[in-house]
């Protein structure tokens, strides 16, 4: 296959990938979009086989590795519970990063295969692109591994900070640039290995200081990095499909990071520099413990809801942890039978990744036109009878609107307190991830339901 023809086909796959993302503008077109993505991938892989044109023994091994990876991927895709999506995505990002590193290494060892020159005499531009691809890939890999460990709970979600952290990071960044410079001038392979090693370290160092509540930003950011890594390799291989995809994924992740940061009213750098909520937690806990709290049981909650005419449900990460989405849907079904209007309010940073809550509700067969974003539904709280907060906390905290001293001041929150009554399902009075006490707990019209979210929801359903 001629180089021009294959380049045209790569362009076609690039366009199909754009259409795949375009499809996600609405749930109706999204499935078709995903098909476009798959076709794009098939074309890209097929064209690569034809353009290499080497159907020897090696080709069989390629198919074996492809099939092995494919079966592992398919197995994971079908078995993974929807609550574990953040971990899965973090894990997948790490694989893209590592694959980028491997391709870069391979191109470095055997540049002839990619028409980049000979070992020890690689074209300057290619070498720079390769180094960028490898470095960003390595950062994505180790960063995603840490994110994965934190999300899985293998590693503590608490931010890990130490003295001189920022200084060390700055030093490493400078050394990466210096190394790339010397690598390009000397073509010394040792420098290339050191560069990759240091980049692994960077990924590790930039993710450990970031706390659990900031995971939505971290995942989006790593998503973006994986795109830039792919684009870097795309430049090296002079492949337009990779360049287009890399740019798409890179900007997609960047936009998601931006949306997540905005949802928390924090600047991107503030998140990256980390250590959020680790400082003020202790003092705040001590001062507020004495306030009276009204707590109730499933019976009280059922009574309140039965007499309501409209209920707004506010799900959060706690619902995912308790796997309460199905029980919740059953409760809502019962409410609807009693002619009670029910809608769902989703905060942009509810859960551990963008759109996390929406997927869980969709899994529980909640129709997506009953689920609303913050701006769409925030005015409705004033007219609703009951707000049912299940596993959310900081995103409902009115302190974000009233107290300029609060670390979450200015963060957009759901106006839950405007409801006639608020039901708060929570295991204890502990503060949320931001480490701030929620004033809502002590309000006159709030009823705390101390229990596991799933069990409480089931009990309420029984009492309805």
């Amino acid at each position: 296959m001629s180089a021009n023809l294959s380049a045209s086909f790569y362009l076609v796959s690039g366009v199909l990938f754009i259409l795949a993302l375009r499809g996600l503008s609405s749930p109706e077109t999204s499935r078709q979009g995903n098909i476009f993505g798959i076709i794009g991938m098939v074309i890209a892989v097929g064209v690569t086989f034809l353009s290499v044109g080497n159907f020897s023994t090696g080709f069989i091994y390629v198919l074996i590795f492809l099939a092995a990876g494919g079966s592992i991927g398919a197995f994971i895709a079908y078995r993974i519970p929807m609550t574990a999506m953040p971990e899965l995505v973090a894990g997948f990002h790490s694989l893209v990063g590592l694959a980028a590193v491997f391709v870069a290494i391979s191109a470095f060892i055997n540049p002839g295969a990619f028409n980049l020159g000979e070992p020890g005499n690689i074209k300057l531009a290619s070498l720079i692109e390769m180094s960028i691809g490898a470095a960003v890939g390595a950062i994505t890999f180790s960063g995603s591994v840490i994110a994965f460990l934190k999300l899985q709970g293998i590693m503590s979600g608490a931010p890990i900070t130490f003295k001189g952290q920022h200084f060390l990071n700055a030093l490493i960044f400078i050394s990466i640039i210096t190394l790339t410079y010397f690598l390009c001038s000397t073509q010394n392979s040792n420098l290339f290995w050191i560069l990759i090693g240091i980049s692994f370290l960077v990924g590790f160092l930039i993710i450990i200081p970031i706390g659990g509540a900031d995971m939505p930003v971290v995942i989006s950011m790593l998503n973006s990095y994986s795109g830039w890594a792919a684009a870097g390799i795309g430049f090296t291989l002079e492949n337009s499909a990779l360049i287009i995809t890399g740019a798409l994924v890179g900007s997609s992740g960047a936009i998601l990071s931006y949306i997540m940061c905005k949802g928390m009213n924090r600047s991107f750098f503030n998140v990256i520099l980390g250590g959020f909520g680790a400082t003020e937690q202790d003092t705040l806990n001590k001062t507020k413990e004495q306030k009276p709290v009204k707590s109730g049981n499933a019976d009280d909650a059922a009574f309140l809801m039965k007499n309501a005419s409209s209920v707004i449900i506010v799900p959060g990460y706690g619902m995912a942890v308790a796997q309460a989405q199905h029980a919740l849907r059953e409760m809502v079904d019962t409410l609807k039978k009693n002619d009670i209007k029910v809608s769902y309010a989703i905060h942009p940073v509810a859960g551990r990744m963008p759109g996390h809550m929406n997927v869980l509700l969709a899994e529980a067969n909640v129709p997506y036109d009953e689920v609303f974003e913050l701006e769409e539904i925030n005015n409705d709280f004033a007219n609703a009878d009951v707000a049912f907060v299940i596993g959310a906390n900081d995103v409902t905290n009115p302190v974000a609107k009233t107290d300029p001293q609060s670390p979450i001041y200015g963060m957009p929150v759901l106006d839950v307190e405007k409801c006639k009554s608020v039901l708060f399902v929570k295991r204890s009075l502990s503060p949320g991830y931001a480490g701030i006490d929620n004033d809502l707990f002590y309000k006159e019209n709030t009823l705390m339901l101390f229990a596991d979210a799933k069990k409480m929801t089931e009990d309420i359903t029984k009492n309805l």
């Binding site: 754009i18 795949a20 993302l21 996600l24 503008s25 609405s26 999204s30 499935r31 993505g37 794009g40 890209a44 892989v45 023994t57 090696g58 091994y61 390629v62 590795f65 990876g69 592992i72 991927g73 895709a77 079908y78 999506m85 995505v89 997948f92 694989l95 893209v96 694959a99 491997f102 391709v103 290494i105 391979s106 060892i109 055997n110 295969a113 990619f114 995942i219 989006s220 994986s226 390799i233 430049f235 291989l237 492949n239 337009s240 360049i243 287009i244 740019a247 798409l248 997609s252 992740g253 998601l256 949306i259 609807k336 963008p354 759109g355 929406n358 067969n365 129709p367 997506y368 036109d369």
Partner: protein, 103 residues
């Protein structure tokens, strides 16, 4: 003077960033999780580089070090491609509209 092909690739890159910017802003927030999984799947198109690397050698020397990295990259990228697209498909299949006769 002839224009360096690098400039053309750079143009593709920059324009794609803009395309990505506008396309992603039009993605509905409720589909942000599928967006992440599908972007993850498509970024594994890096497999094309892995295949080239793996097949760069002739029959006598299938597993030399450079092609070995290629094979591993194929494995990783294949996990991502299949896993990413299938899990996206699985998620998207769950997004349903309200059934009018829901009793």
């Amino acid at each position: 003077m002839e224009i360096d092909p690098f400039i053309f690739r750079l143009s593709i890159f920059i324009l794609s960033i803009f395309v990505g910017y506008y396309v992603v802003w039009s993605v509905t927030p409720s589909l942000h999780t599928p967006l992440m999984s599908v972007t993850n799947a498509i970024s594994s198109v890096i497999i094309v580089g892995a295949i080239i690397a793996a097949l760069a050698n002739n029959d006598t020397d299938i597993f030399n070090s450079s092609s070995l990295y290629g094979y591993f990259a194929i494995l990783l990228a294949a996990i991502n491609i299949f896993g990413g697209f299938l899990v996206t498909q699985r998620m998207l299949a769950m997004y349903k509209k309200k059934k009018r006769k829901d009793k």
